[in-house]
């Protein structure tokens, strides 16, 4: 059976979906997510941030919120070129049931925040099964 997806009214759809206020820096924090056998690894590129500026917490049971706060930029001197300004950010991820919420660890190294999300025992990857055909 084939189903053809309806093309939504693009404009109306866009209006409906558009967030009220877009913080463009939030969009510009790139994220990698890697799945390993027993855990997920979430990587955020946040150059210029130190450990003390990062807060990670659980909100409403299944939302992992990562916040980075920047104090006022006190860089003195004359900018000849300014392509990068560290700004405060907040990023949220929904964490499914397969994650053991007690076993989450994080580390930061050279501007990359790595969050390790351990899977629950029952969610760990099983070896592919072969199914016999009779």
């Amino acid at each position: 059976m084939q189903v053809i997806a309806r093309i939504p009214n693009q404009r109306r759809y866009a209006m409906k979906r558009a967030p009220k206020r877009v913080n463009d820096f939030n969009l510009s924090i790139p994220v990698n997510l890697k799945e390993c056998d027993d855990h997920f690894e979430l990587q955020l590129a946040i150059p210029g941030f130190e450990r003390e500026q990062i807060a990670i917490e659980f909100k409403e049971e299944d939302t992992l919120v990562i916040r980075g706060s920047v104090k006022k930029n006190e860089e003195t001197g004359q900018f000849h070129q300014k392509e990068f300004v560290p700004r405060s950010f907040e990023k949220a991820f929904t964490v499914g049931d397969s994650i053991d919420k007690e076993k989450i660890s994080a580390s930061i190294s050279q501007g990359v925040l790595i969050i390790n999300l351990q899977k629950r025992e029952e969610a760990k990857k099983e070896a592919p099964r072969t199914i016999e055909v009779f």
Binding site: I46, G48, F79
Partner: protein, 143 residues
């Protein structure tokens, strides 16, 4: 049951999606075959009282990956690294950044002629400090 997007009937769609797939599964250098097309890292150039500081934003590298050279008023920052975009590709659920080779050149003009250039890599930012050349007052004799 197959779910087909209505757009996939257009022949251009297939072509486009192939090229787009190539863009995401290969690095830009592989697609266009050049070192320079890679997204350049962002940089700030700040002039301080006695130094000129260049901050290159490049998270996730290690100190050894960078090569900095100063030649004829041009400062070149190069990241020499094995690109790892294809690594365990099936494990990536989302891939929005990866470390790639890059070359970025800055014109120093009146700075950096003599004096020691210092560089440090911290918090994912490579900071290069170039001492400013002090202009000595010269008197010119009229002959």
């Amino acid at each position: 049951m197959n779910l087909i997007n209505a757009y996939s009937f257009l022949p251009i769609h297939a072509q486009l999606s192939d090229s787009i797939d190539a863009l995401f599964s290969k690095s830009a250098a592989e697609v266009v075959d050049s070192d320079l097309v890679n997204a350049l890292p962002r940089a700030n150039v700040i002039e301080k009282e006695d130094v000129l500081r260049i901050d290159v934003v490049a998270p996730g590298y290690s100190k050894e990956d960078f090569e900095i050279t100063v030649d004829e008023g041009l400062l070149t920052v190069r990241a020499k690294i094995e690109e790892n975009i294809g690594e365990e590709s099936s494990n990536w659920k989302r891939r929005e950044f990866f470390n790639s080779r890059f070359t970025r050149v800055f014109r120093l003009e009146k700075y950096g002629r003599g004096g020691e250039v210092k560089a440090a890599y911290e918090k994912g930012i490579l900071s290069i400090e170039i001492p400013k050349m002090k202009e000595k007052a010269r008197s010119i004799e009229i002959s």
